[in-house]
Symmetry: C2
DNA sequence: TACCGCATGTAAACGGTTACATGATTAC
DNA sequence: GTAATCATGTAACCGTTTACATGCGGTA
């Protein structure tokens, strides 16, 4: 929440709408947890409110991060994601990449790449132990996991490369285009 | 839990170990929720216990599904995943693909493909609305989402194809090989 | 006037994790 | 004898969802 407000002051309703638009990537909290969270942040002095009256719509409360809030956010972002760190954690941090320092972002990507490798190893072990004549359906989840791991690794590698060459402006769009063109990748 | 026990009778500890090996795909419950769950299933008559004493290891309780349990599982599996259905739901069902009827599995895959399309559309809308000169880092999450959507769609299409041609035995392994060979995709 | 989308909020219920407690068996 | 792994279990805590409650503003 702090991260989103740092990108742009918003109301609780806005946060919800924004997170809903990323529905697939991150799960958006219900109002029942979102509003109390904002209340807490306010009481802790990490955000301030600004009640905005509009003639066309009902009034809303726009929240902005304070200096303390920005410091708290930075503290959270700068401490590397915990070693176990799930996909959810990674994606959350990716959503806040705009607030992340370049080196921190690269470290996150590399950490994720390493985690995928170890997960891949686990899945491969599981696949071989299940091996031989086992019904295809039983292996589907493993195959899915391996395919996704491969795809994610490829994306991370592309992204790391494009981040290390900031002179050009290939950006994610160009990377996507490369993918579509099917230029032989690793 | 019922689905795993249907594949093979196991102890709570085994379930945990198995789910841990799929760590990345599904999150394994803590013992604090797993054991009470088994207790409940037992009380509901959906599973039975068998205390097994071994000389080399401590005793353990092997759970097996009863007829009622199998019926309950089937009921759960046959009702298509709810329309919203998250990635988690999809993967969970994929892990249990062995217990799923062929037509149900295909329906699940197709439903997921459709969901990805709509999510893709959302992400693309978000990407264009954020468009123009926006800092690359701000778009990273969107790009990630789109890349993963693409990869998942590709995997689903391959899998659907291989499932519809059961005469050959290409299986997931062959599909993976195709991917690696980089034969022109969709 | 009735309804729908916007916007905020609260309280109960629920489910899961964390932390704790116990004990058998093997290996150092 | 002591640590580590295997194995099971309980209770407090905590965050989230669900359901409910309220009200403004536009529109059919």
């Amino acid at each position: 929440v702090l991260g989103l407000l740092a990108q742009e002051p918003m109301s609780g309703y806005d946060i919800r709408r924004y997170l809903r638009s990323l529905n697939w990537l991150v799960d958006s909290p219900s109002f029942g947890s979102l509003y109390p969270t904002l209340r807490t942040l306010l009481e802790e002095g990490l955000v301030t409110v600004d009640i905005v009256l509009r003639r066309d719509k009902p009034a809303c409360k726009i929240y902005s991060v304070t200096r303390d809030g920005a410091a708290a956010l930075e503290e959270w972002l700068e401490q590397p994601a915990p070693a176990e760190s799930s996909l959810k954690t990674f994606v959350k941090r990716l959503v806040l990449a705009g607030n992340l320092s370049g080196s921190r972002l690269i470290a996150d990507l590399e950490q994720r790449r390493a985690q995928i490798s170890s997960h891949q190893a686990l899945l491969e072990r599981a696949a071989t132990s299940l091996d031989e004549g086992a019904d295809r359906k039983r292996r589907l989840a493993l195959d899915y996991g391996l395919a996704m791991a491969e795809a994610e690794t490829a994306w991370i590698d592309e992204t790391l490369q494009s981040l290390s060459q900031p002179r050009e402006n290939p950006g994610p769009a160009a990377a996507a285009a490369n993918r579509k063109a099917g230029s032989g990748g690793t």
